[in-house]
């Protein structure tokens, strides 16, 4: 009883030493090895991940061959986007529109014919000031620090206020169960369920593995350029600084991050 304090200090000191044991036994370098039991060729490795301050994409539609839909097929295939076969229930993340539809304010009847017939690739603009994020009542759609406007399909209640808010028609609602309508399910990406809204996610699941977005990768003509707008040396920044480009409905203040080279 008389050496109580001493005993206590001894035990406390020993306990403090044991707290330091795990970092000593498992040094930091060991943490790099991530156990991946998957047969997925691209195992997750934090050092490979692509990062940016503001992801953006530039589209040079003049490079698109007539009738080519490689980007659309790649995206919809990789992300299990269903094909319901009718425009009412249609779900699409990326598609093509005529110039007059994508840029109603900039088109007129005296434009050169090639521009009038141009098929522009349109997708979610991943706006820097997104109205859809502002209106979501559960923050099921939210903005990441790197600029990507994400969807949390677990939280979405399907109220479709984001669809009303989007000035670009980039969002689709699953009005019925999509699973029977997916051509070939990609097992490495989940499907969605009925009753939630979905849209392009800039392939954030590929970025984290060091891969470019599916559409960018699939384009053989290199018409889609993807990169960090806030990096002055990035390919997209140099391209956008060099060639004249338009953004859709730029006057609305949404600051869209898809730049169309015209």
């Amino acid at each position: 009883m008389t050496s109580n304090r001493r005993e206590f200090l001894k035990i406390a000191g020993a306990s403090a030493l044991t707290l330091m044991a795990p970092p000593i036994l498992c040094p930091a370098w060991a943490k790099e090895k991530i156990i991946s039991v998957s047969e997925f060729p691209n195992a997750l490795s934090p050092s490979k991940a692509l990062t940016a301050k503001r992801w953006a994409m530039a589209v040079d539609a003049s490079k698109c061959p007539a009738g080519c839909v490689d980007c659309i097929a790649a995206c919809h295939g990789a992300h299990n986007v269903p094909d319901f076969g009718n425009p009412k229930d249609e779900v699409k993340w990326i598609w093509q529109e005529k110039f007059a539809a994508a840029f109603p304010d900039e088109s007129h009847s005296y434009l050169r014919e090639s521009l009038k017939q141009l098929r522009l690739t349109v997708l979610c603009n991943q706006c820097a000031n997104p109205p859809c994020v502002r209106v979501c009542p559960t923050k099921a759609t939210f903005q990441r620090p790197d600029g990507i406007v994400m969807m949390d399909y677990h939280r979405c209640i399907g109220c479709r206020l984001c669809m009303a808010a989007c000035p670009y028609g980039a969002r689709s609602m699953n009005y019925r169960d999509p699973q029977p309508f997916i051509g070939k399910i990609n097992p490495d990406f989940p499907t969605r369920t009925k009753g939630v809204v979905e849209k392009c996610n800039f392939c954030e699941e590929r970025l984290v593995r060091g891969l470019k977005p599916a559409c960018v990768q699939a384009c053989k003509e290199k018409a889609l350029v993807f990169g960090d707008m806030e990096n002055p040396q990035s390919e997209i920044r140099l391209l956008v600084g060099k060639r004249f480009n338009l953004r859709r409905r730029a006057n609305l203040g949404t600051q869209p991050q898809i730049y169309y080279i015209v």
Binding site: A30, V37, L44, P46, H154, T191
Partner: protein, 133 residues
Amino acid sequence: MKKNKWGLIILGLVIFIVGVTFPFWYGKGKTTPAPSLSLDTPVIARLQNKKCVEDTAFMRASHMKLLGTWRDGVVREGNRLHTARDGRIFETSLSGTCLKCHSNKQQFCDRCHNYVGVKPTCFSCHNVPGEVK
């Protein structure tokens, strides 16, 4: 008059007691055996160190919470790494990690879920590799 009232009251009480104790006496004598889960999958057979992300007791009690944390971590924070209690690091993915080993959903996941009567909605989106339609 009073006799009639008492008759009705007792009848009502009997019906109530029968109804409220229904789960206890219905199926009395029938035993439903606890589910036996099958770990017989190709990937598990190939594993040298047959250890799950966490130990069985933890998983049995808390795998739903773990998956919930993983879900919010991946989707909302972009955090795709989980450090297990023994220090190993895993990718936080239901289909990419858990279901790669436990690819036999009907003989593994469903057996307990059906026994307890829960219907997790995860599988309506997160398809099981091998179960691809």
